[in-house]
């Protein structure tokens, strides 16, 4: 996966089909060097441990509302570990430990009075491999809202709305009762996005959502992200630098720091995507995006 800055510069026209017009909320002016105003996540000195092994060291990052932030970096740099800290998915791993601060909408995400369940309802997640439930397409989407107390009469509408937002409605509207596994990989991934949307989250985390998909399906997901950006804050982990360049507003570059203590993931820099890919500040970033490393 080698990107050259030249490819990146053509970013505005990167999707060969023009993205459909989506009403977008006006975005505030901002200066890159000042970071993000009104960030959704404010992370300070985050370190993460799997048992005795440290996986992330001193990550500080702000993630802005209604924009797409991409995490890139070589394998093992902790970008997936980091994104899973943002909705406390790592709570599921026995022996996992978080140090440092993550504020979500101004409150500590790991505060003693915060339930991980509530957090995950506010912060949806889409995984590397499409992971629909072994149920019908309809139930995949309706299950969570139903458990969350959405009235039966409102369910049909919610399912349709979520599928439309995930631009899957036209493909599945005649087979809502069929198994989700009857869909193609790309459709399954969009179903998973619809399923996340149906919970009405504020943030959608995507952990390499296209790594198991073919280029056409990948393109549809990227298109979808651009559409969703107006309503949701999106964080995406990707292996594919072109993808980061195409879809994201800001890009964070992680790498592996090898020392006597072992291999630890660190954040190298974060900035406007165009800046990261054209004039990175750090030599390590430049080495990575020009293909000299990783």
């Amino acid at each position: 996966m080698i990107d050259t800055p030249a490819q990146v510069e053509s970013r505005p026209t990167a999707p060969s089909v023009p993205a459909p017009e989506v009403p977008r909320q006006p975005r505030p002016e901002r200066h890159p060097e000042e970071g993000t105003p009104d960030p959704v996540f404010r992370v300070k000195d985050l370190s993460f441990y799997y048992g005795p092994h440290q996986a992330l060291r001193d990550v500080s990052i702000d993630i802005g509302a209604h924009e797409i932030t991409a995490f890139i970096g070589p394998s093992g740099c902790g970008k997936t570990t980091f994104i899973r800290c943002l909705n406390r998915m790592n709570d599921l791993i026995p022996g996992a430990r978080v140090e440092g601060e993550i504020d979500f909408e101004g409150r500590p995400l790991y505060g003693a009075d915060i339930r991980a369940i509530d957090i995950r309802r506010r912060i949806g997640m889409v995984f590397q491999k499409p992971n629909p439930f072994p149920k019908s397409i309809y139930d995949n989407i309706a299950l969570t809202p139903r458990r969350n107390g959405v009235k039966k009469s409102e369910l049909d509408g919610l399912v349709e709305e979520s599928l439309r937002r995930a631009s899957l409605w036209d493909e599945v509207k005649d087979k809502l009762q069929q198994s989700a596994f009857s869909l193609s990989g790309g459709q399954q991934q969009r179903l998973c996005i619809a399923r996340a949307i149906a919970v009405r989250p504020d943030v959608i985390l995507m952990d390499e959502p296209c790594s198991a998909l073919d280029p056409v399906a990948t393109f549809r997901i990227e298109e979808l992200m651009a559409e969703l950006k107006g309503d949701y804050t999106i964080v995406i982990v990707t292996h594919n630098m072109q993808q980061a360049a195409r879809v994201s507003d800001r890009t964070a570059f992680f790498t592996v720091d090898v020392s006597d203590q072992g291999r630890v993931g660190v954040l190298v820099e974060i900035g406007e995507t165009s800046n990261i890919f054209t004039s990175p500040e750090d030599q390590r970033t430049e080495d990575y995006i020009t293909g000299r490393f990783g």
């Binding site: 909705n87 998915m89 599921l92 026995p94 369940i117 509530d118 957090i119 995950r120 309802r121 506010r122 949806g124 997640m125 889409v126 995984f127 491999k129 499409p130 992971n131 629909p132 439930f133 072994p134 149920k135 299950l143 969570t144 458990r147 969350n148 198994s179 596994f181 990989g185 399954q188 998973c192 399923r195 996340a196 919970v199």
Partner: protein, 280 residues
């Protein structure tokens, strides 16, 4: 070269012989039991009780016990299996699993003996359905626990992640997301438990008692007739008729087992399909 070929042929002949040694006894058991049962086979077997020339009460008694085992060992075992697979962690998980496996190695006669000393004598339940069902349940509990746990562990992790990522609570995750795909595995475990219960005698010998009456659903103070009891008692009685009744009870037990194994096969085929559907 020929020496090698001869050795090869000798090896596979030995294997074939070994296989025949495995298969022949099983065939012989089936043929022998049904052959000995022939004089007693007939509708009266199902319509008359053991004070006549039938075993109706024993069949019903065995079925009542199976129901009891299904409720007790099934309920407790499935719940314990869910806990071990989804909630328990670390040392305490390993300990619980270890003790459950030790329990699986407990000789049946020891369970029956303690069942007699405690439930029948100390608790004054007498020979009874409760004592019999509890003894059988202790015997099969580890199997239900283990098969439930294994069935749940075979459910792919991505479903747990998907569920957690949506903010579903753990109860919903278990009941709505994890149990449905694991169900065939859990059910075939329950069927194995029922098959073991159908054929066991050692834990019942001193807990169930026997009766010529049809079983009632009373838990204590009422003895329960059962199939393996008929096989064992009538085997030792003099006379061709008792001998035939013993074999007939054996034949009915085997038929019950064949039905259970067939159902188990169907269910586990369903289990394989369910797993195939989940791996994309």
């Amino acid at each position: 070269m020929t020496a090698r070929r001869i050795r090869n042929a000798a090896f596979w002949s030995a294997c074939t012989l070994a296989f025949l040694c495995v298969a022949a006894p099983a065939l012989s058991v089936l043929i022998s039991v049904f052959h000995q049962a022939l004089p007693a086979l007939g509708w009266s077997l199902l319509l008359k009780r053991t004070n006549g020339i039938g075993i109706q009460n024993a069949i019903l008694g065995t079925l009542v016990m199976l129901l009891g085992v299904l409720i007790l060992a099934g309920g407790v075992g499935v719940a314990a299996g869910i806990y071990l697979a989804e909630f328990a962690t670390g040392r305490h998980e390993r300990l619980l699993r270890f003790f459950s496996e030790i329990l699986a190695g407990m000789p049946a006669i020891v369970i029956g003996y303690i069942g007699y000393i405690t439930m029948v004598v100390q608790f004054h339940w007498g020979f009874s359905l409760a004592a019999a069902v509890i003894s059988l349940s202790i015997l099969v509990l580890p199997y239900v626990v283990k098969t439930t746990e294994v069935a749940l562990r075979q459910v792919p992790t991505f479903l747990r992640e998907a569920s957690a990522g949506l903010g579903l609570d753990s109860t919903t995750t278990v009941w709505r997301i994890l149990i449905p795909p694991a169900l065939p595995g859990i059910v075939s475990g329950l069927i194995v438990a029922l098959a073991i219960s159908t054929g066991e005698l050692a834990p019942l010998l001193f807990t169930a008692g026997f009766s010529d009456q049809n079983p009632s659903l009373a838990l204590v103070h009422h003895q329960v007739p059962y199939l393996t009891g008929v096989i064992f008692t009538d085997l030792a009685l003099p006379g061709a008729r008792a001998h035939a009744t013993s074999a007939a009870a054996g034949a009915v037990t085997l038929i019950l087992l064949i039905i259970l194994i067939a159902v188990g096969r169907l269910v586990s085929r369903g289990a394989r399909r369910a797993t195939a559907r989940m791996t994309i």
